[in-house]
Symmetry: D2
Subunit: 291 residues, 4 copies
């Protein structure tokens, strides 16, 4: 099948590579060099211009935020064919997605939001978890395409629910990172070796993705790679809070998480990784994670 893949960032690049094994993939990227390299290395073809993507029966967007998706829709909408399926793999905003779906529906174009989780390694190894919002029928079409990228593909509900559950689970992760950092810092101040504290946490009740996979490399080994930009994580947590606001909910821990992450964003360097919030936890205590 012919697939247009728009957005060859850290996640999109390997996702498009896997798709090219089974499909005829047309790629487009804001900085053209990346698209050219993708074509050269992985047998895809570079779209002559963005609008050429409108010809494909399946369009996949993997962009920084829903704003860029929206702009892309603006540019393509006049050229789209009825029956096209638009899969938005961006970590986006459910409210924007619902509006986008409505706009596309008027052109008889189907839309599903299909954000992914599993990080770059998951995109590389095609082991992503993919959470899809859309009709049952559109979900099946999307799954048939995306099964090559992920090992767990879940139909979450109507359009927007994929994006919603993504930001909610990323917010849980954010809170868990922060809380675990607070408590491990206390353990450290009490003279407990940080590796021991992590081992106990992971053998017990406080175990989480944060304690098992995210924090050890940073706070125990002192390696702070850029895996996922704090600016993007903060965006997700902010969207989750917007959902809470719309629902007129009371979610004090989600709210505190956002306040602390946004404060961290304002204080860390521009390209900070999301786990570097643990450095702000230390700064608020006048200390650091150094041994």
């Amino acid at each position: 099948m012919k697939i247009a893949f728009i957005g060859l960032g850290a996640m999109g690049f390997p996702m498009a590579r896997h798709l090219a094994k089974e499909h005829e993939v047309l790629v487009w990227n804001r900085t053209a060099e990346k698209a050219e390299r993708h074509a050269r290395e992985h047998g895809t073809r570079v779209a002559s211009d963005l609008t050429e993507c409108a010809n494909a029966p399946v369009i996949i967007t993997m962009l920084p935020t829903s704003s860029e998706v929206d702009e892309t829709v603006d540019k393509l909408i006049e050229h789209l064919q009825p029956g096209t399926l638009w899969i938005d793999a961006t970590s986006g905003d459910p409210n924007v997605s619902r509006e986008t779906a409505k706009r596309l529906a008027r052109k008889q174009v189907a839309f599903v939001d299909a954000p992914v989780t599993g990080a770059v390694v998951g995109a590389e190894n095609a082991t992503l978890t993919i959470m899809i919002g859309g009709s049952a029928e559109d979900f099946e079409r999307a799954r048939e395409i995306l099964r090559i990228n992920g090992k767990t593909i879940i139909h979450v509900g109507d359009v927007g629910t994929g994006h919603a559950i993504k930001v909610l689970t990323n917010s849980i992760m954010g809170a868990t990172v922060w809380m675990t950092a607070e408590c491990l810092l206390l353990a450290k101040e009490l003279g407990i070796d940080i590796r021991t504290a992590l081992a106990v946490t992971n053998a017990g009740s406080g175990r989480s993705n944060a304690s098992e996979n995210l924090l050890p490399m940073r706070i125990a080994d002192g390696k702070w790679p850029l895996v996922f930009k704090l600016a993007h994580h903060d965006k997700d947590i902010r969207i989750a809070n917007s959902l809470s606001h719309q629902l007129h909910a009371s979610t004090p821990m989600l709210a505190l998480t956002q306040q602390l992450f946004s404060a961290s964003l304002h204080q860390l360097p521009e390209n900070a990784d999301y786990i570097e919030v643990a450095k702000i936890v230390a700064q608020m205590n006048g200390t650091s994670w150094d041994a």
Copy 2:
């Protein structure tokens, strides 16, 4: 070896049973019937009175809080033999433990704090994680005894660090339960099936002990068994906050966790299970977890 085991509650009862396979176990319990049943069923012997326990070279306490341990020390201290090892498996207060250790040291009695995690099922199956604070030598003596109760036995550091890391990891668990409940409630309000929301969480970044093991039975299946009393969990979180206070730390998420748990304790029935705080999350939103 002769071991005195004091406190045959939900955790202590099966722990003493396993120890009796290798050791001569003397048991004592505030309500004598339980001790008698233990002796009858598991080949242990009931202490004639509490002070008889002072004759054993190893004493294990498994009591509700450090206060009860303290009272037990008061009653036994005049009768203890030099060289005795006192293992306190209670989920206790590190400050009290340090004082207790000093008092016992004056009688040449060694003390380790050895709280456990893994719940009743872990005690029954002897798969507990045991975190021990004390000298390296005392740790070795304690491990040699407790290896029959647990599969992971960790030397955390000096006296008190076992209790400290226990309350810190239980606090992480508390925060994670609350935060996950907030976000899953939002998912539910957005029309996402709660089982789907849990499945996505557990397949992705927000995964934790809370999302995998604690919440599903309650919020998805509507079963709210009493596994661990909220009053005890709240006690642990309060001790963690005391540690933060002593260190003059800034731990806003730990603080909020305590405030929300204590507020829940004041509003739920006396015998509420700790996961019932999720009901307060719903109450604060004017809703419930019912489908």
Copy 3:
């Protein structure tokens, strides 16, 4: 001058009465009886229908939220005369106000947001504080009209800033009410007479509008009149949080205030007064304000 006054609620009714002393006032209210009573008692005239209000060179709206203002604009906009001044005294949303101002500007109608503070007693006695957002020229026109209603009329800045500063100051009040209630409840639990605690607070550093004017009647005298609906106060605090969100700010105390107020709203009766959040403070502590 001819003035159309739309919205004769607890605040609007007396405001329109004062304006009638100097102006020819046309009144309109959703429930017509109130408008008829106003005309009968205060020499105003009831608009035959809402659109008649469009003829007045000055239109004042005093409605529950910006939504009702928006609907009113929808109904009148085709009938408005160039040069008209629209004064919106509603406690509204600055973002909506800016949009409204733009829509009206296309009809050459000037718009100022002019929310008031001082409660019903301030409206009755014409001692309101009025905070106005709009151009310097429009501010002067509005002040010339509203001087009969208030003793302090402040030009805050551009359109929307009146509404913005109103919700921000109301949020400060909300936080102060909650925090003062927390601390006075602790004083009470410590055995300090609540009147003494209030007297000390008001003679010292913790003094505020909340401690001097709002809390004493309720927590000391047990009188909980409905002065300002919690639903309206919660709306203001929610708008303040939206502003924080738009600015990508980190305002943890404002965020916590909203979470606690929204949780209170979900737990108190529908017509609860805003100071009844103090009852939730007590509920969270398993107690009450009763002596």
Copy 4:
């Protein structure tokens, strides 16, 4: 009457000066130069050594914390006369005060805690508010002495309640400073002149000691004098949280206030004034109060 006054800091120096108008005042200070200057300028007499103070029938302590008071009691207790009245004007810890009162009672020495509020200017002008904990009889004795220092002298309750209400009201002030700073910073970001925002706040519902007296000089005029050390304010807020903890209360806003103040303390210079927390509010938003 003969009065020993111990502690001639910014508050104690002028208090002892006023007392010397009616009484024979013996002064003692850790750095002797201050005591000598006091004697020279205000007709008091320097104690030959600390224990000489024990001869006075009235002893007043005005020290940084209850620890210094405790040490002073240690040094004097063997020399005290039955019937002596010890007035502790320190901003202290109610739990320590209760213990101190018990120790002194065994020597038939009466104790009242009598912290003051009103800042240095209040001490200079003898317009302090003084809140006294102790028996009715001891309160009367203390008031007869202190009436020369304050205009409002309130009997709060038993020993410790003076210190308790002091830290509670100072905590309210702390929360109000922080919350007002958050909201005024938002106003500033929205383009509202900071003086206008303050004027509106002070004319309306959000008015407090913080908005009227504490913030304007700093955030509007850019003057950040050292009036009250943040370290002392943080100590007060921490004592208030300890009281909450002892009462097993749920006070989320008080808790957040402490976390934010302690984090500020860890990030500001050692001699920071308490209102400099407003700089941390700005830092968390990546901005400053500069125009």
